[in-house]
């Protein structure tokens, strides 16, 4: 064992010995003092500590808030409209629960102090009072109705259908990273099949680029059937990327969420949203980014600011490092970025088919421009 280890162990043992000796001594002292006296003294001390704990606790809560509130996301505006609703809801809930917290904790510790044992007093025989019980059944019920009401109002706003012309992005979780897909000019995602995934050819999502017959195999690798898959041209111009998700400020986005292996979770703390990525069961969520990444750098006064995507569902050993990035940009920046991107199909089949997807790529940019125009006008 190293010196630090020995030292730590020695401190622990010493601490125990001292505490034990104090504890034993206090027992002897109570015997000498008389048990009643010792009890009264202990009772007084603990009653006093109850009120000390209350005061220090409330000061501690205030101090903790002062220290840590600036480190939360709350001092800055939420990066999505949904997020603003959530912040409002959070404040309503903090206000209501905060009042209840302070009142009940003060009563608990104050009563403990005030009604400490005294030979002179007899406890008040008070087994029930129907009026009081009705009162504290109805008051919490009303308070909860308020919270449920506000909560559901915002909930249905958030979980309603995305605007028809919302931009669509597919995000797929895998151990341990994210794959982003955007439709091309046709604004339609191409079909995919997980058995068609082939990372060697760059087909991370199993897009149906060619007519294929897939031999289905069981766990022991025995063939159990086959799947005949027809190529889906809608996928020829799909953009697939692993580096960052590009979104446009002010343009609603509908995320189509998938997983390739285990359950992941798309956590978007700045947008105040999250949704599980479940293999075989796509989920969706939508929101409208409010600030570009550059704007958020200024708002947060942090030149390194990034919108990060966390994986919030335990997915294996690399779970903690499953970091994604969202770049919220202006429509012009988005068009430029998209124009530079090559469809995954074009990357996988550079020649002679390359000419077609390349053209698609440029066309995709034009398509996006049209989409953005439509979206912008519909959101005016």
């Amino acid at each position: 064992m190293t010196t630090t280890g020995i030292l730590l162990l020695a401190i622990l043992i010493l601490g125990f010995l001292i505490t034990f000796q104090i504890a034993k001594a206090s027992e002897y002292v109570s015997v000498l003092k008389g048990e009643k006296k010792a009890f009264e003294q202990n009772n007084r001390i603990n009653a006093f500590l109850m009120v000390v704990f209350l005061v220090l606790g409330l000061v501690g809560v205030w101090w903790c808030n002062k220290m840590l509130y600036p480190k939360t996301l709350m001092p800055y505006p939420a990066a999505s409209e949904h997020g603003k609703n959530i912040d409002t809801m959070l404040m309503i809930t903090i206000a209501i629960t905060g009042i209840v917290f302070v009142i009940t904790q003060v009563l608990l510790f104050w009563f403990a102090f005030k009604y400490q044992h005294s030979e002179k007093r007899t406890a008040f025989y008070y087994p029930h009072n129907n009026k009081l019980e009705v009162l504290w059944t109805t008051v919490p019920a009303i308070a909860l109705c308020v919270l449920v009401g506000f909560g559901l109002f915002y909930w249905f706003r958030m979980t309603g259908d995305a605007p028809e012309n919302a931009m669509q992005v597919e995000i797929t979780g895998k151990q341990f990273g994210w794959i982003y897909r955007y439709p091309g000019k046709d604004n339609t995602f191409g079909k995919k099949y997980y058995r068609n995934i082939d990372e060697a050819t760059g087909n991370q999502l199993g897009l149906l680029w060619t007519d294929t017959t897939i031999i289905k195999k069981d766990r022991d690798n025995n063939p159990v059937g086959e799947a005949k898959l027809k190529a889906d041209p809608a996928g020829f111009d799909d953009l697939v990327d692993n580096t960052a998700m590009y979104l446009v400020k002010g343009v609603p986005v509908k995320l189509i969420i998938n997983s390739r292996d285990v359950i992941h979770d798309v956590g978007l703390p700045h947008f105040r949203l999250k949704m599980d990525a479940v293999p075989g069961t796509p989920t969706t969520m939508w929101f409208t980014p409010q600030y570009t990444t550059e704007e958020m750098k200024k708002i947060t006064n942090n030149p390194k600011f990034e919108y990060e995507i966390s994986c919030d569902q335990m997915c294996g050993n690399g779970h903690y490092s499953m970091r994604g990035v969202i770049k919220v940009v202006t429509p012009e920046e988005f068009i430029l970025w998209k124009a530079k991107m090559k469809p995954a199909y074009a990357i996988a089949f550079p020649a002679p088919e390359a000419a077609k997807p390349a053209a698609d790529s440029t066309g995709a940019a034009a398509g996006v421009k049209d989409t953005l125009k439509t979206v912008a006008s519909s959101h005016k």
């Binding site: 280890g5 939360t72 005294s118 009081l132 019980e133 449920v148 293999p279 294996g316 903690y320």
Partner: protein, 606 residues
């Protein structure tokens, strides 16, 4: 502090006197094996549950210290750790694989083996026959089996720590596909099978125990012990057993299907999976990983109350005894327990707001979830009214019971945030959740358990625990719990995800490094104080101050009418008859009136 000096009327008639101590009812001749190992005496089984639970508690706590070390000091290595832990801390650092295994085992053992098995197993076994006036459980043999299944489950779970691939490391909820696929994670191999087997044995133990508790309470109450005269601890333990019996089988079925998916080639939970590590598309199609979550949380949410209800019951009783006042609103308290039991079955999907649940269904679960706050609020206000105008004796049991109320309020209120889907969509799986459930069903349940141990230790072992150590234990644990978990709410508000072993690569979370260090340091201090409690416990069994009267706390309930250390059968002669409820404290100028005392002709009604 003198415990025996506490009750104002030591001369009050109780059923038995001290000199009857030796007159135990002997059911049969006992050997060492039948008395201490395969005992059928509910009190011995209770002690077995308690001590096994304590061993698990220390192991589970130690695991948290180890992973908090990683969280607090992610850049540092601790060579001495390797000396102690060997491959678990190679190079003085806990690897990702081991970190996740520790987190998983910590959650599993503390939720199931300590706060379920340890808490209910101990107090249901110890108190049910004693408080309702029965010689033993309805089926002592089944009761014994219940412990040995629990012990067997513990052995299997512990053994997973020593296999080459280590224990399961996918989190205590064991969501498939991670838990269903051996290739999904290093910790999903044999360790996962052992985890399932251990949990299945644990469920069997819970069912054997639960059925026994229910049938004992329903059938074996002594004369006069109407259900409405039962102490609140009995009501709580009764409904806890009902919850367990109705929900654990669903969990077991979930585990069996999981086992089929792992080894039987089925696809209950599996669909469309491509494993990157092996570059392989799996044959499963059509299953639903969400199905498991429904099955899991159908037990998982009642589990919160399986843990909390016994603590609530015991705290109610201990507060009443030491406040020297009847518990306020007895019937409302019983009604609240009943309402919580019913609602506990109807709220499971609030754990699944972000799984893609239909929003309308989500809204129903919001309503039902927040509804459960009403009976919880009733309980809190009734506890507060019970200590209003009381005459409080700060026994260690009372301190922990009051601490329980404080923590229950704090943790319960944050539950309102998470039960509301709008907020959950932001806070789900962040440190806010960690803070919430650790306060409400971790620490507060532990406080209920400690309250119970301090309060009934004299009845268990005929000795007192050392009070000074108890007070240190209480104050450090209470302050420590708040110092550890309160700041975590802020981490949650920043969206910091749980189950990350290193946040240094994240721009959004790395500024909490100092706070994490602080939390880890406090966690170690709190753990050290639990070791002190452990020492106090075992030292006091042999060397603690002896109890010299039957009823040291001046309580009304039946267990204090038995001899100081009751033998098998509990009462040497006839089982006493009950004439009143359990909360006649400070009535008609008397400090307390035992349940065995007939109602006097001039006695006031309550």
């Amino acid at each position: 502090m003198s415990n025996e000096a506490l009750h104002g009327h030591p001369e009050v008639v109780t059923t038995h006197d001290v000199h009857h101590d030796e007159h135990h009812v002997h059911h049969h001749k006992e050997t060492f094996i039948t008395k201490y190992v395969f005992s059928q005496d509910h009190k011995m089984i209770a002690k077995q549950f308690l001590i096994t639970g304590m061993v698990w508690g220390i192991l589970g706590g130690l695991m948290s210290v180890l992973f908090r070390l990683q969280l607090g000091y992610p850049d540092q290595t601790f060579p001495w750790l390797e000396d102690i832990l060997g491959r678990w801390a190679k190079g003085g650092k806990i690897s990702a694989e081991n970190y996740y295994a520790l987190v998983t085992m910590h959650g599993t053992v503390l939720v199931f083996f300590v706060l379920t098995g340890g808490l209910s197993g101990t107090f249901a076994n110890f108190l049910i026959p004693l408080q309702i006036g029965a010689r033993d459980m309805a089926s002592p043999f089944m009761n014994m089996l219940s412990y040995w299944f629990f012990f067997g489950a513990s052995v299997v779970m512990v053994s997973s720590l020593f296999i080459q691939t280590g224990p399961f490391s996918g989190g205590w909820t064991a969501y498939p596909p991670l838990s269903a696929l051996g290739d999904a994670s290093p910790g999903s191999k044999t360790g996962m099978d052992l985890w399932i087997v251990a949990m299945a044995m644990f469920v069997v133990s819970s069912l054997l125990g639960g059925l026994n508790y229910i049938s004992t309470v329903l059938n074996m109450r002594t004369k006069g012990m109407a259900m409405t005269r039962m102490p609140l601890t009995m009501w709580a333990l009764f409904f806890t057993a009902v919850l367990g019996v109705l929900s654990f089988p669903v969990l077991l079925s979930g585990f069996i299907l999981l086992l089929f998916d792992r080894h039987g080639g089925t696809s209950f939970y599996l669909s469309d999976i491509y494993i990157t590590a092996t570059k392989q598309a799996l044959p499963n199609e059509g299953g639903s990983a969400i199905l498991y979550q429904h099955l899991f949380w159908f037990l998982g949410h009642p589990e919160v109350y399986i843990i909390l209800l016994p603590a609530m019951g015991m705290a109610s009783e201990i507060i009443s005894i030491n406040a020297r006042k009847p518990i306020f609103g007895y019937m409302a308290m019983v009604g609240s327990i009943f309402a919580i039991t019913i609602l506990a079955f109807l709220v499971w999907a609030h754990h699944m707001f972000v799984t893609g649940l239909n929003p309308f269904l989500g809204s129903v679960f919001v309503l039902l979830t927040l509804l459960i706050a009403v009976p919880s609020a009733i309980k809190v206000f009734n506890w507060l009214t019970t200590i209003w105008k009381a005459n409080i004796r700060f026994t260690p049991g009372m301190m922990f019971a009051l601490g329980f109320v404080s923590l229950f309020i704090s943790g319960g209120l944050t539950g309102i945030f998470l039960g509301n889907s709008t907020l959950d969509i932001h806070l789900h799986d962040t440190y806010f959740v960690i803070a919430h459930f650790h306060i409400v069903m971790g620490v507060s349940a532990f406080f209920g358990m400690f309250a119970g141990v301090y309060h009934w230790f004299p009845k268990m072992y005929g000795r007192f625990l050392n009070n000074t150590m108890a007070y240190i234990h209480f104050w450090v644990t209470l302050a420590g719990a708040y110092l550890i978990f309160w700041p975590m709410h802020y981490e949650g508000l920043a969206g910091m995800p749980r189950r990350y072993l290193d946040y240094s690569g994240w721009e959004s979370f790395k500024h909490f490094a100092e706070l994490n260090k602080f939390i880890s340091t406090v966690a170690m201090i709190v753990f050290a104080v639990q070791l002190m409690f452990l020492f106090n416990f075992f030292y006091s069994i042999f060397k603690g101050r002896k109890v010299t009267t039957q009823n040291p706390w001046g309580a009304t309930t039946l267990e204090w009418t038995t001899p100081i250390r009751p033998g098998h059968g509990n009462w040497p002669g006839e089982i006493p008859e009950v004439h009143r409820w359990a909360y006649d404290y400070s009535k008609d100028g008397r400090d307390f009136i035992p349940q065995t005392e007939p109602i006097g002709p001039n006695e006031s009604k309550h």
